[in-house]
Symmetry: C2
Amino acid sequence: MSQNRQFILKRRPDGEPVPEDFALETETRPQIGDGQFLIRNHYASLDPAIRGWMDDRESYAPPIPLGEPVRATTIGVVEESRAKGFEEGMWVMGLNGIADYSVAEAGGFTQPIDADAVPSVTNYLSLFGAVGMTAYFGFLDVCEPKEGDTVLVTGAAGAVGSLVGQIAKIKGCTVIGIAGGPEKCARLTERYGYDSAIDYRGKDYEALVAAIGEAAPDGLDIIFENVGGDILDAGLMNLRLGARIGLCGLISEYNSPPVGARNLWQLIVHRARIQGLLVPDYLPRFGEGAQAMGEWAAAGKLVVDEHIDEGIENAFDAFMRLFEGSNQGKMILKI
Amino acid sequence: MSQNRQFILKRRPDGEPVPEDFALETETRPQIGDGQFLIRNHYASLDPAIRGWMDDRESYAPPIPLGEPVRATTIGVVEESRAKGFEEGMWVMGLNGIADYSVAEAGGFTQPIDADAVPSVTNYLSLFGAVGMTAYFGFLDVCEPKEGDTVLVTGAAGAVGSLVGQIAKIKGCTVIGIAGGPEKCARLTERYGYDSAIDYRGKDYEALVAAIGEAAPDGLDIIFENVGGDILDAGLMNLRLGARIGLCGLISEYNSPPVGARNLWQLIVHRARIQGLLVPDYLPRFGEGAQAMGEWAAAGKLVVDEHIDEGIENAFDAFMRLFEGSNQGKMILKI
């Protein structure tokens, strides 16, 4: 290809992103300089965190500049190289852009990956990537599970949640999942091994409090929180003494002003904690996490689902699945 | 006295307590049975937590029954006894009622105290009581301060806050306090040794965010939170990586529906935590805390202020000082 299609951020979304916030633009295939290499991107990881990078506010990562491709973790093949250690034909993964091509530099965030070591190279975006490592370290390190603990996972059928639920079962916990719709709830118990599932659709705050209370009559030792809003507030009303809440995401508020949690006073009542987590902190331990996840997967204890939409022209619709909840597994775009 | 005046909870307050929620009732001095003793209450500790016990909701302590005296920690003298270990004339402290007399039992929450061991017996309600131990363990155990940390204390001139600020200085931290009004702010820096003071009065959320940012340009390692609402949300916008928030109280919301914290997403950005705390958990370690606090006080490193209002007929006004912020130090009622 001599052309480079790019999924460009044209303006900052006001609340929920709309198609007009983006544009598919085509430029000439970029040139590389000394120390650089050209990646033909094959897959892009679509994550809720990307929504935050579209805003013009300080966070752990800088905002995506307007007029630039939407930032995402991508997997691709080196097509040209003037950088040591990155040879033509090599598979690489890095924080690049949703585009046919990206230019990267040696010593940056882009690293070689071994496509032959895994069942599918896309597993580097799920089981062995940020998603898998978030589930592994976010649950084991931040939530400190003990055998017999009662665990609530919100966003339980999502990329991270479905892995957390399965790890919790491996660790001997009783696991309750919250998800949207009967299909997803069936997946929780039938495919991921959750002990019970709560469908949040059609339930107001009071009904959520009651449903969690019914599923966990003795209360929750752990919440792995991906959602926020009423779902988090309902979880907080069902804590046990010394509960640990791992705060992984707040997808319910990414397209609107933050609401946080009203029932913070429950932390005092139950001497509980909310601890924020972000996976890059565990980079030095990714090897440990990947090995454990790989062994569990190989032993059939862990299933990983990937939802792959095709075509860069479908980037917007594919990304919005995360907020509609219409994806089944880790959301990936095949470019 | 043959009569027993009692500060009775007549109905549950709807939001802010009003005088009509209470009544001063007089009954005959109660009789004791076997294993019981009669306490002549001299002092009652007025604490924000009492407001929570007036509501009809489950918490760490049961609601105060309607028609009964308002529950409080009191200090008094045993006037009659049919219980082993509790002799007439002995000073005792326990969770009893705001009344001239309480009947208690051996083996309950009421324990003897040594009035001669402290400068004033009321110190058992401040420095050596729940207030002092909340400051000591809540700060050292939950917030894990390190030398050089930047610490924000909210409700900084209050009974707990003023002690936390001083302990933080003893531990080599830079300490910022938030309080209401210029007088209290002057007390923070002049009397308690805070490095700087922020007057929250007349400041909206944005102004609070800016004021904290100015006082702590590199961000906060620790927040010791007594207040909640906009003050907590503004603190959350000024965190450093790995910040620890000790959640001791949320006095701003005790008379209204809970608001919690909107800016919970900042916990993810900064991998920070909010940990609820409640002092009874540290009962087995009170000896350790009391010794440290006593030594610091004796060495002139720690000042403790007590605000003592007199007369059970003034119980309502004295209690409401906690929410008006018109007390200067630990609020105590001399019955």
